[in-house]
């Protein structure tokens, strides 16, 4: 038994060294994350840096903190794995879905506090990761659905800069949308 387990460990290591090229991503607070190059290339920004040859294997990301970067990497890893396994999605008739097998995982992924969600959006935008930007923006949009303007202001801490008369006028113009 013991001997077979050792041999398994050895062969895994061999596999790792053979196939995967790694890059190191450095967060704004100085933490380094080593990831497979293919996973990192889920970000178009990083992809261009690597392709332009500017990588030097360590890519600084001054706009992304370590907490957010680790989550982003988790997202990219998961989606890269899934993309490798599934077939290209079939266009469906209904509105949103190209059938996404990771829907449940994605839903759990975005169950975070608002600041983290916003930071994920900013990171997805800066790193140009379309799937993550779509997911996070849709999540915020869903938070807005069904809320009154006042509820939206409270949820997202937005200051109301309308005078009562101005607000009444804007509302009157679009009255049907409130019914």
């Amino acid at each position: 038994m013991a001997s077979s387990s050792t041999s398994v460990v050895v062969s895994n290591k061999e596999k790792e060294n053979k196939n995967t090229k790694k890059v190191t991503l450095k967060s704004s607070d100085g933490e380094s994350f080593e990831v497979d190059e293919s996973v990192a290339m889920e970000s178009q920004t990083i992809k261009h840096i690597i392709e332009d040859g500017c990588a030097n294997n360590e890519i600084p990301l001054p706009n992304v903190t370590s907490g957010i970067l680790s989550r982003v990497i988790e997202y990219c890893k998961k989606h890269k794995e899934a993309a490798g396994e599934s077939e290209p999605s079939v266009t469906s008739y209904t509105s949103n879905s190209t059938t996404n097998p990771l829907t449940e995982w994605d839903t759990e992924f975005v169950k975070v506090d608002q600041n983290t969600l916003f930071d994920l959006i900013l990171a997805a935008n800066y790193l140009d990761i379309k799937g993550l930007l779509d997911l996070t923006c849709k999540t915020v949009a869903d938070m807005m659905k069904g809320k009154t303007p006042q509820e939206i202001r409270e949820t997202f801490h937005i200051k109301n800069d309308y005078t009562p008369e101005e607000e009444a006028e804007v509302r009157k113009e679009n009255q049907w949308a409130f019914e």
């Binding site: 704004s28 607070d29 100085g30 600084p60 001054p62 706009n63 266009t91 469906s92 008739y93 209904t94 509105s95 949103n96 608002q114 600041n115 916003f118 959006i121 900013l122 935008n125 800066y126 930007l133 923006c137 849709k138 915020v140 949009a141 807005m144 659905k145 069904g146 809320k147 009154t148 303007p149 939206i152 202001r153 997202f156 801490h157 937005i158 200051k159 109301n160 800069d161 309308y162 607000e167 804007v170 509302r171 679009n174 049907w176 949308a177 409130f178 019914e179």
Partner: protein, 444 residues
């Protein structure tokens, strides 16, 4: 602010007249020189115009030894710090109703949703969603407003016409002809003017030029779509005249590009048009109408096509005689299709082929609707809502009361009908496919 100099990666901050708030998110290594940090620059204008937030990342340069204050870097907790482009991304994903509500949140949000970047983004998104329907009630009283029907949520929103009495009176008598990109084309059945392009969401309207003489016609049918080759909207119409001897003069075709001063007459199509056309269906760069030939010997049913870019007619024939003369022309699953109503059977034919090699109709499949439809109870297919369901509009003649209309979902695989209970649905209506947007009908 003003404690240290920095070079931003974007252009210099202009207009120091504007109040500026800079928040710093400082890296934990930021002591002394050489820290890397991000500044969020929010410019606030008292009038609420031109507010915006941008992010800069930069290295701190200071000639003097300075200890950076080490606040833990986060902005004041809870403030909304997403930049305008991202807010556009988020709001453009909302249904139009909620976008309108968001205009009441604050001036920045209102200003953002009125801008061209947002309008284009929202339009590109809505083109990938299931279309909604815009209905107009046939009843005189209800005809004052348009109804936006969301078939998924089964709810209706009444959108009133703009308040100006002259506009709403005119619009009241007109019929919905077709829609494209959130713009509706409405016109009269028996008059060739007015023809109005209207965005019901923004309430902006643009009347098309009309001939001076008031011309009554027997029938009037309009197709309206964006010409992808020119980026402009074109309107094609067909009408039939009766001359002074009450003889049918046949169909006339006219076209106009939005922004032109007058309509242009089109030369006659390659086949005679025996009867008034039904609504145009846009597919693959062309408008299509079904042509019913009732007293024909050749037996070919065909579709008349009109290419929007080169403005040429063509025909698509089937080489098989249909069982019945009642059928719907619409786009199902990306293909131009004919749905033949043969008593209880629903036969679907699809157009296959290419522009270069020619199109033809080929039989696709048959469904048994399990209902014996007749002239008192009939249906039309509105769209295919999923791989195994269709949305139908059912019409029942009620004797003196006229017709009664409603919607059902038909599941052919299970031989199942599901009645859509939509509060506020008028008893009689006509509708068109609609994708709500904020596009302006006025030509650029």
């Amino acid at each position: 602010m003003g404690l240290f100099e920095f070079h931003s990666r974007k252009s210099e901050i202009e207009e120091r007249k504007r109040r500026v708030r800079i928040e710093l998110v400082i890296s934990s290594r930021g002591k002394g020189r050489g820290g890397v940090f991000v500044a969020r620059h929010t410019s606030l204008d008292k009038k609420g115009i031109e507010a915006g937030t941008s992010e800069y990342s930069f290295l701190m340069e200071n000639s003097r030894q300075r200890r950076l204050s080490n606040h833990n870097g986060k902005m004041q907790k809870g403030a909304f710090y997403l930049p305008p482009e991202i807010l556009c991304e988020i709001l453009s994903r909302l249904p139009v109703k909620y976008i309108l509500r968001c205009r009441s949140v604050c001036k920045e949000w209102c200003r953002l949703t009125l801008g061209p970047q947002f309008i284009n983004l929202q339009l590109s998104r809505v083109n990938h969603q299931l279309p909604q329907l815009i209905l107009k009630s046939d009843n005189k009283v209800d005809g004052q407003s348009l109804l936006l029907l969301d078939t998924e949520g089964c709810n209706i929103n009444k959108i009133p016409f703009k308040k100006r009495p002259s506009t709403s009176k005119r619009l009241n008598c007109l019929r919905l002809m077709c829609s494209c990109d959130g713009l509706l084309c409405i016109a009269a059945d028996y008059l060739i003017q007015p023809v109005i392009i209207l965005n019901p969401i923004t309430r902006e309207s643009f009347p098309l030029p009309s001939p001076k003489r008031r011309a009554y016609v027997v029938s009037h049918q309009i197709g309206f779509h964006l010409d992808p080759s020119s980026g402009k909207y074109k309107v094609v119409r067909e009408y039939r005249n009766m001359n002074s001897l009450n003889h049918d003069e046949g169909s006339s075709f006219e076209i106009i590009t939005l922004g032109d001063k007058s309509w242009r007459k089109l030369s006659a199509p390659p086949v005679p048009i025996e009867y008034s056309l039904d609504a145009a269906v846009y597919w693959n760069g062309a408008f299509h109408w079904k042509i019913q030939e009732r007293n024909d010997k050749s037996g070919d049913n065909c579709i008349l096509g009109f290419n929007i870019s080169d403005e040429k007619f063509y025909t698509i024939s089937s080489h098989v005689r249909f069982g019945s003369s009642e059928y719907d022309l619409l786009v199902l699953g990306g293909c131009l299709s004919l749905v033949e109503h043969d008593v209880h059977l629903m036969r679907i034919w699809k157009v296959t082929g290419t522009k270069e090699e020619g199109f033809s109709l080929s039989f696709n499949c048959t469904y048994d609707t399990c209902v014996r439809w007749n002239k008192y109870l009939h249906y039309s297919v509105i769209c295919q809502t999923s791989v195994d369901s269709f949305l139908l509009k059912v019409s029942r003649e009620d004797g003196e009361n006229g017709a009664n209309h409603w919607f059902v979902q038909f599941f052919p695989g299970k031989s199942l009908y599901s009645y859509l209970d939509i509060p506020g649905l008028p008893s009689r209506f006509r509708g068109v496919y609609f994708k709500p947007s904020f596009v302006s009908p006025k030509p650029a």
